[in-house]
């Protein structure tokens, strides 16, 4: 099993306590990866919103799913996380029983869902239901508050926070749970540049700590900043799955090239 105390409090006498991630090798999420999607299809009222999706997500640290609106990115993410069952095909984790445990994978939604209680209690609740060891909870809570910059708001009601702060709290819950794989569905879609930068910084920290990031976005700049690997979707199909550098520098697929150039796709 993976070490649940990956976040370590570092005390420097005379200085403000700070937290740092004990950076692990990229095999941290290897317990449940690769994630393999085999011939996935999703049908609604006779219309196939996803079809013929065959994809293998290795332990690449950060996979960004790109594509225009209606490409099926969010749908695919929900199927990967188990929120939706595909109409056809199968989702295969390396270790299914471990992958389906509450602390193995987490998801941050486009609009964060907060319980009507304080920031601190939201994080504590997530740790409790995800089965985090009670002894390590105070430590994980402190780390999550520190990383998210929400210490000052710890006792404030979560629903009273701004949109950006709520999204940071949603990520803070993930920091506290410390999942192997984190799914993010356009987490900065409604945020201003400052809040976006803070969220990206948190995502980067999680990625660096060994959590596999699988994120949906249609923000090219964000994809360039965060991606190690890019999956490009269009019209319910995966057209490209490649290294981020290759995707951005040498897009071989015509739709992907058009998308990168800002052309309209239909």
């Amino acid at each position: 099993m993976r070490d649940k105390n990956r976040l370590h409090l570092v005390h420097d006498i005379g200085a403000k306590p700070s937290y740092e991630y004990d950076l692990r090798s990229s095999s941290t999420a290897g317990g449940i990866l690769p994630l393999e999607l085999v011939d996935i299809g999703y049908e609604v009222a006779g219309h196939w919103l996803l079809s013929e999706i065959n994809l293998k997500i290795e332990d690449d640290r950060s996979t960004i799913i790109l594509g225009p609106n209606g490409a099926g990115k969010t749908l695919l993410l929900r199927i990967c996380h188990g929120l939706l069952a595909p109409s056809r095909g199968s989702v295969r984790w390396q270790n299914p029983s471990m992958a389906n445990s509450a602390s193995a994978q987490a998801m941050v939604f486009q609009r964060p869902v907060m319980l009507r209680r304080s920031v601190k209690k939201n994080i504590e609740y997530a740790m409790k239901v995800c089965g985090i060891d009670p002894a390590s909870r105070p430590h994980q809570l402190a780390a999550a508050l520190e990383v998210s910059g929400l210490e000052k708001h710890a006792e404030q009601r979560a629903t009273h926070l701004s949109g950006g702060e709520q999204q940071r709290l949603a990520l803070a819950r993930c920091v506290a749970i410390n999942p192997m794989v984190l799914f993010l569905d356009e987490p900065t879609a409604h945020l201003d540049p400052t809040a976006t930068r803070q969220i990206e910084s948190m995502i980067g920290s999680l990625r660096d700590s060994g959590t596999q990031i699988i994120m949906v976005t249609h923000d090219l700049g964000q994809a360039r900043r965060l991606a190690d690997r890019v999956v490009f979707m269009y019209d319910g199909k995966v057209l490209v799955s490649t290294e981020a550098i290759e995707f951005f520098n040498n897009p071989r697929n015509p739709e992907a090239a058009a998308f990168l150039q800002g052309n309209l796709l239909w």
């Binding site: 869902v113 319980l115 609740y125 239901v129």
Partner: protein, 232 residues
Amino acid sequence: MSTFSSSFSTAVDLVLTANPELAEIVFLSLRVSLSAVLIATVIGMPLGALIAIRRFPGRATIATLLSSLMGLPPVVLGLIVYLLLSRAGPLGEYGLLFTPTAMVMAQTLLVLPIIAALTRQILADLHQHYDEQFRSFRLSGWKGIQTLLWEGRFSLLTALLAGFGRASAEVGAVMIVGGNINHVTRVMTTTIAMETSKGDFSLALALGIILILLVLSVNILVSLIQAMETET
């Protein structure tokens, strides 16, 4: 006008001096209504939660039935309970007719649809909001229900108070199944009806004042709870 003034003055006097007859009626009323609300809560809240969250055959029919029963006329309900408890009825052997227990039964059946239907509505809205997040947390059904009940606690309290308001102000059902027997089943609403028909308004007005104060208190409590929910 002078009749009203003198009756009102006597009524206030009865209230201020805590007249024993008045007190007995008020306490029985509260005992019956609070018992009914308690039983209806124990049955109605899990029932409402179940209908809100679980998918099963007949779910929509039960939800519609509950909503319809919210407007059930108390006299009709009283009649049904009367027939059930009368000597010739299926529960006649227990001798419950014209007892406070019969009144509690009638009021429970009256309040149960209100509490269950409001609980269903409150929790269904919350469930829609939290469903994906809970499934992301891999929460089991019961843990999810527990969290929803806690998240909706202020709204659910409002549902309880609505049930209590309905029970305490009801007259038709308790009159039929209780019989308005002095010192046994006489409650505030049945006394008001009886004293008014006798033309003796003092006691009726005194009880009316208490009922109004009770309803006002319930409404103030609801407002306070809602304010608390907004602030916390």
